[in-house]
Amino acid sequence: MPKNEEVLQQIVDILKPKVSKDGLEVTAELDLVNDLGLDSLKVMEILEDLEDTFDISIPINILPGIRTVGDLVVKIQKLTEDK
């Protein structure tokens, strides 16, 4: 099972090309909407990429509880453990 740091790095790699703010370093503390400027369509695309990368299905019910990159790391880690 991947460690949190590995999961974070993989998520950052997926997020980077979707973020339209030039030169912004993606870190765990950043808010997906307010800091990274992601809209709902982009979030859905990111979920699909994460599902492929980690070979998991991500229930959309978890979305209201995810605000930051770090929140996403915790959820992905949990779903990977439950596989």
């Binding site: 809209d39 070979d55 998991i56 229930p59 959309i60 019910n61």
Partner: protein, 396 residues
């Protein structure tokens, strides 16, 4: 400092303002006078309606109007109550029986709108610990129904049976009930679900299947029963959901099934229990429209004739339409501004189509969505095509 109540809508307000500056008509479409199933007056101008989902053109059918008027005179303007209380009239029960007969299924429940039908069924039929697998392009009412219930909700890529199977495989060890939800014709692009493949997977993994035939009722299948009929898989579809607000020209929704337990939803489903039932006039016109639809297959043939005519014209003009003809013909634009220019141009030329903006569009672009009707004349279809043709130079 606490954020003011409406601050969270700031981005929405800014987007609306910017749109209004470019195209004020978009937010001010009022049908001032509706003279037929295909013509209205908008902003003082007579237009051909090419975006109303009025597939069989039954909104102005004389029998339907007469039945509706008679019901209002005989039973009043409304039921003023829920089906559970005083809102079940003999017409509601009769329509449920007639829909069961039409679909060849044991039972049917009708709802006040198609939106409520999805809310009622999807929020109730599966619950905590169970899973809904829905096509990513499903209608908002399906998403909202899922959200209202307690089941886990997982999307699969649009019309991708391989992606659906991957998700079914991952769920195997959970050993729980899985409900797959797809649509017959997808409302934005007018494409069909690959239903035979989905039925194979449903059987292989022991899942249940809902098909929302909102846009395919009266449009697909030899008898107009939708995609399940056309694909020859009706026996494998557990629940058919649909609406009265498209081919049947009224308002309302339904769910038909051979599972006798469907009737328990009348007691378990809050959107069913706590909504006023449809008015007698609505029920009467819907029952008549269902009879007309069954008796006149030529309406469906005329609809497809019209759809093929416009699709060929737009395809020939190099508009970015979908891969196959359908009564829903959507022209895709990556740039919202380009779509606005064409939409506005069409309106000035007396053609009304739907403009669809993100996030309602499948890929984040904009759509000019036409929906055809059996009531369109060939001359009207040609006029719609001519209007698009005259605007080709304005395409981005």
């Amino acid at each position: 400092m606490i954020m003011a109540l409406f601050d969270k809508f700031e981005q929405l307000a800014n987007t609306r303002q910017a749109m209004e500056e470019k195209c004020s008509d978009f937010f001010n479409i009022v049908m001032e006078d509706i003279s037929s199933a295909t013509e209205a007056v908008v902003n003082g101008q007579k237009v051909i309606l090419a975006g109303t989902n009025n597939y069989l053109g039954l909104t102005f059918n004389e029998e339907c109007i007469r039945a509706s008027c008679l019901a209002a005179e005989k039973e009043g303007t409304g039921t003023t109550g829920s089906r559970m209380a005083n809102g079940t009239f003999s017409g509601h029960v009769a329509l449920e029986h007639e829909l069961s007969d039409f679909f060849g299924r044991g039972q049917t429940i009708i709802f006040s709108t198609g939106y409520v039908a999805n809310l009622a069924i999807l929020s109730t039929i599966v619950g905590p610990g169970e899973v809904i697998l829905l096509d990513a392009d499903c209608h908002a009412s399906i998403y909202d129904g899922c959200r209202l219930g307690g089941a886990e909700v997982i999307r699969f890529r649009h019309n991708d049976a391989g992606d659906l199977e991957k998700r079914l495989q991952r769920l195997e060890k959970r050993n729980t009930n899985v409900l797959i939800v797809v649509e017959g014709l997808y409302s934005m692009m007018g494409d069909r679900a690959p239903l035979a493949d989905i039925v194979s997977l449903k059987k292989k993994y022991g899942a249940y299947l809902v098909v929302d035939e909102a846009h395919s009722l009266g449009v697909l299948g030899q008898n107009g029963r939708g995609l399940a009929e056309e694909a020859g898989v009706e026996d494998s579809v557990d629940f058919v959901i649909g609406t009265f607000s498209k081919s049947l020209g009224a308002i309302g929704g339904f769910c038909s099934s051979n599972h006798p337990e469907l009737n328990l939803m009348r007691y378990a489903s809050r959107p069913y229990v706590f909504t006023a039932s449809s008015s007698p006039s609505t029920i009467a016109s819907t029952r008549t429209a269902l009879r007309v639809m069954r008796a006149k297959p030529e309406l469906k043939h005329q609809l497809w004739h019209n759809a093929n005519l416009l699709y060929s014209r737009l395809h020939g003009l190099d508009f970015n339409v979908g891969p196959e003809a359908s009564p829903i013909i959507a022209v895709q634009y990556t740039n919202v501004k380009d779509a606005l220019v064409i939409w506005n141009g069409l309106l000035e030329l007396g053609i009304y189509v739907n403009m669809v903006l993100p996030p309602a569009t499948p890929d984040g672009g904009a759509l000019l969505r036409c929906s055809l009707s059996a009531a369109h004349t060939t001359a009207q279809i040609e006029k719609i095509g001519d209007a698009f043709a005259s605007l080709t130079g304005n395409q981005g």
